[in-house]
C-alpha cells in the first residue's frame, strides 16, 4: 500500500532525528515551509526540534545535493534528503571528486514528481544512491521523451535559432542563478568569477550573456543530470534546459545511450578518449 505524503513526511523526520542522534551527522538538509503554501525552502535541521520542521509535499522543488559543497572538509557527515534527481546530483559531485561519499548520509525518498514542469520528463524518480530509503519505490516512467523539445527546435533554420537565443539572452540579467543551482557547476572557482582575466565581461548585455550561456552549456553538457534546476531558478524564464538537452542529444547520437549521475563510476563522455570514439568529423 502506498504511503500518504504525511506518512512519508513523518518517516523523513524520524530518519532525520535518528541521523542526528547517531552523533555522526551535523545537519540534515531538506525542505521546510515558508509563509506561502505553494513554496518550500531548503532547510538545515540541526536539532531534534528542527527535524519536526522538515516537510514533504509537491512544493519541495529545490535541489538539496549542492549544499554539500558549502563545507568541502566537514568534521561530521551531512545528511541529505535525496529524491531521484538529488541522488544523481550527489553521484555527479562524487564522480567529479568534489565531495566524498563517506562525508554524506543520504536519506533517499522516492519522488512522484513535484510542482515543476521538468518532473514530467523525469526518468529516475527513485533515488539511485542512498543509505536509507524512506517509503516505497514508485513506478518509473520509461517512455518519457526527453528530446522531443530539442527535435522540434532543431527544425528551425540557423538564423531563426540564433534570433531566438539572442532575444532570450537580451532578457538575461547575469545573476548566475543557473550556475549556482547546478550540481554540475561545481568548480571551486568559476571562470566567470575570474573576470579580471578577461574570460567573461561583467556587463549584462547580449554579447556577454551569450558568451556566458555558451560557455556554461559546454562546461556542463556531458555532466548534466537533467534536474532542471537551472531553468527553474531563472528569474527571467530562459529555457536553459533546451541547451543542455541539445548537448545530451548530440552525445547520445554520437556515443550511444548516455545519462549522467548514474551510480556506476562512468567518466563524462567528453572528458575521456576511447579508440572506438566516432571521428567522422575529422
Amino acid at each position: 500500500m502506498a504511503y500518504t505524503k504525511e506518512q512519508i513526511q513523518d518517516m523523513i523526520r524520524q530518519e532525520a532525528k535518528k541521523a542526528l542522534a547517531s552523533g555522526e551527522v551535523s545537519a540534515v538538509v531538506g525542505w521546510t515551509s515558508t509563509r506561502f503554501a505553494d513554496k518550500t525552502k531548503p532547510f538545515f535541521a540541526e536539532t531534534e526540534a528542527e527535524c519536526d520542521l522538515l516537510v514533504w509535499n509537491e512544493y519541495c522543488v529545490n535541489g538539496t545535493a549542492k549544499y554539500a559543497l558549502d563545507d568541502r572538509y566537514p568534521e561530521k557527515k551531512l545528511a541529505v534528503i535525496a529524491r531521484g534527481c538529488d541522488s544523481r546530483a550527489i553521484n555527479r559531485l562524487i564522480q567529479d571528486k568534489q565531495v566524498k561519499r563517506e562525508n554524506l548520509y543520504i536519506i533517499g525518498v522516492p519522488c512522484d514528481g513535484k510542482d515543476n514542469p521538468i518532473c514530467k520528463e523525469c526518468q529516475h524518480k527513485n533515488p539511485l544512491t542512498f543509505d536509507v530509503l524512506v517509503g516505497e519505490e514508485v513506478e518509473e516512467q520509461i517512455n518519457a521523451d526527453r528530446f522531443a523539445e530539442v527535435l522540434a527546435f532543431e527544425k528551425l533554420t540557423p538564423d531563426e535559432r540564433y534570433d531566438y537565443w539572442a532575444k532570450q539572452y537580451d532578457k538575461c540579467i547575469h545573476c548566475y542563478a543557473c550556475r549556482n543551482a547546478c550540481p554540475a557547476c561545481n568548480c571551486i572557482e568559476c571562470y566567470a568569477d575570474q573576470y579580471r582575466t578577461g574570460w567573461q565581461g561583467k556587463a549584462a548585455d547580449r554579447e556577454q550573456n551569450q558568451v556566458y550561456g555558451l560557455t556554461r552549456v559546454f562546461h556542463v553538457g556531458d555532466r548534466c543530470i537533467e534536474c532542471g534546476e537551472c531553468e527553474r531558478v531563472c528569474p527571467m524564464d530562459l529555457p536553459i534546459m533546451r541547451q543542455t538537452r541539445k548537448m545530451l542529444k548530440d552525445i547520445n547520437d554520437l556515443f550511444g545511450d548516455y545519462e549522467c549521475g548514474m551510480p556506476n563510476d562512468s567518466k563524462p563522455v567528453l572528458g575521456e578518449y576511447k579508440l572506438e570514439d566516432p571521428d567522422e568529423f575529422m
Binding site: T47, Y164, Y176, A177, P239
Partner: protein, 377 residues
C-alpha cells in the same frame, strides 16, 4: 485632473512627442519554434503606438531603476599608442518620462537620489539622467501576495515625491452584471492625476486637452498590502548589535549565492567599473554589481573579507535594514517583494525582518523551531 481610461493611449502618444515615455508594457515573447507556451513579459520600455500598457495587477520583475542607472553605462572611450585620445561619452539628453511606477519604486528612486546626490558627492551621469526624468507614479489598485510596503512605512496608493501622482477613481455608478447579476461598476473608471511638482504641472499641461477638471471623483486609496509583517521600529539599531548573532548562520544556509535578489531589487545601486578592449582601442564602462558575488569584496591579493554566503547575505540584509539607516536615516528595503518572489532558494527578507525583530539580540543560540507557531504540514 481626470483622464478617462480610454484616453490613456492618446495621452501617452502626446507625451511621446517630445520625450521617451517608459511605461510598464506587456509584450508577448516571440517564439517561432512554437514549442513554448505563449509567455508574456512586463517591463518598463519606451511606449509606442499600440503597446499594451499594464498599469494594474503585478509589478514588473525588473525594477525601473535602469532608466536612471543603466545596467551597463559607457563612461569614456580611449585609444593608446599612436593617436592616443580619451573621449567622454555623455549620456543622451532627451527628456524621459517614467510613467506608472509604483510608490515602492518611487521610494527606491528617493534612496538612490540620496546615494548619488548627497554626502558631498554628485554622480554626474546619474544626475544628468535624473534631471531629465519626469516621474508619474501610479497608486496600486491591488497588491501581490509578496507586497509589504505598508509595513515598511509606505503608502501603496501615494508617492509623495513623484512629479505626478496618479490613481484610479472609485466608480460611482453601478449596473447589474449581465452574466452573474451582481452589482458591478458601470464604466471602467478613470484616472485622477495630481501634479506634485513644477515638472509635474508642465507634464499635465501637455495632456490637459484630454482631461476634465476634478468633480466628485475620489481616488481609490483604501488599498493595503496583503503581507503584513511585525517589524521592530528600532530594528536598525537592534541589528547593529547583532553582527555576530547566531541567526546569520541559520538563515543564510539555504542561499545559493546568486545575484537575483540584487538585480531585481529597486534599491540596490552597487556598480563595478571595467574596461572593454579591442586592440589599442577600448572603453571604460560601469555595470551593476552584486554584493552576493565572491569577487565583490575580493582584493587584489586574493584575500576576501566576506568569504562565504553567510557574510555576503548578512551584509545585504544589514545594508538594507541597518547601515543605510545609519547613513541616510531611512530603511533601504521598500517592501516591493521582488526578491521574495524571485529568490531561487525561496529566502524571504520579510521573514528575516520578523524573526530579527523577535529574537534576543544578545542570544548565543538560535533555533528555527522557536518560531514554529503551528505544526508545519
Amino acid at each position: 485632473m481626470i483622464l478617462a481610461k480610454k484616453d490613456l493611449d492618446q495621452a501617452l502618444k502626446i507625451l511621446s512627442q517630445d520625450a521617451v515615455v517608459f511605461a510598464p508594457l506587456i509584450t508577448l515573447i516571440e517564439d517561432k519554434s512554437q514549442i513554448d507556451q505563449p509567455a508574456f513579459e512586463k517591463k518598463f520600455m519606451p511606449y509606442h503606438e499600440g503597446a499594451a500598457v499594464g498599469l494594474d495587477n503585478f509589478n514588473t520583475v525588473k525594477p525601473p531603476k535602469d532608466v536612471l542607472f543603466p545596467n551597463v553605462e559607457k563612461l569614456y572611450k580611449y585609444k593608446t599608442g599612436e593617436g592616443a585620445y580619451i573621449e567622454e561619452i555623455v549620456p543622451e539628453d532627451k527628456p524621459k518620462i517614467l510613467f506608472g511606477i509604483r510608490p515602492c519604486d518611487m521610494r527606491s528612486i528617493d534612496s538612490m537620489d540620496k546615494v548619488f546626490f548627497t554626502k558631498e558627492y554628485v554622480d554626474s551621469y546619474y544626475a544628468k539622467r535624473r534631471e531629465l526624468v519626469t516621474i508619474v507614479a501610479m497608486g496600486c489598485m491591488d497588491t501581490q501576495r509578496t507586497c509589504f510596503c505598508d509595513s515598511m512605512g509606505l503608502d501603496p496608493t501615494y508617492a509623495p515625491t513623484a512629479d505626478v501622482m496618479m490613481n484610479v477613481t472609485k466608480s460611482t455608478r453601478t449596473k447589474a452584471c449581465p452574466v452573474t447579476g451582481c452589482t458591478i461598476p458601470e464604466d471602467d473608471g478613470s484616472y485622477i492625476l495630481e501634479a506634485l511638482t513644477e515638472k509635474g504641472k508642465a507634464l499635465l499641461d501637455k495632456i490637459s486637452s484630454l482631461c476634465t477638471e476634478n468633480g466628485a471623483e475620489e481616488a481609490v486609496r483604501d488599498v493595503s498590502c496583503s503581507l503584513k509583517i511585525e517589524k521592530d521600529p528600532e530594528l536598525d539599531k537592534k541589528l547593529s548589535k547583532m553582527f555576530e548573532h547566531p541567526i546569520w548562520d541559520k538563515i543564510t544556509k539555504g542561499c545559493i549565492g546568486c545575484g537575483t535578489c540584487t538585480f531585481v531589487c529597486p534599491t540596490c545601486y552597487c556598480f563595478d567599473i571595467d574596461n572593454e578592449n579591442y586592440g589599442a582601442e577600448g572603453c571604460k564602462y560601469r555595470c551593476w554589481d552584486s554584493c552576493m558575488f565572491s569577487d565583490y569584496t575580493r582584493m587584489a591579493g586574493g584575500a576576501n573579507p566576506r568569504p562565504t554566503k553567510k557574510e555576503r547575505l548578512r551584509n545585504r540584509y544589514m545594508h538594507k535594514l541597518s547601515y543605510f539607516n545609519e547613513r541616510y536615516g531611512e530603511t533601504l528595503c521598500v517592501g516591493c517583494g521582488r526578491c521574495i518572489e524571485n529568490c531561487p532558494a525561496h529566502l524571504d527578507i520579510s521573514e528575516f525582518i520578523e524573526k530579527a525583530s523577535k529574537v534576543d539580540a544578545e542570544a548565543k543560540e538560535y533555533s528555527e523551531a522557536d518560531f514554529a507557531e503551528k505544526e508545519v504540514r
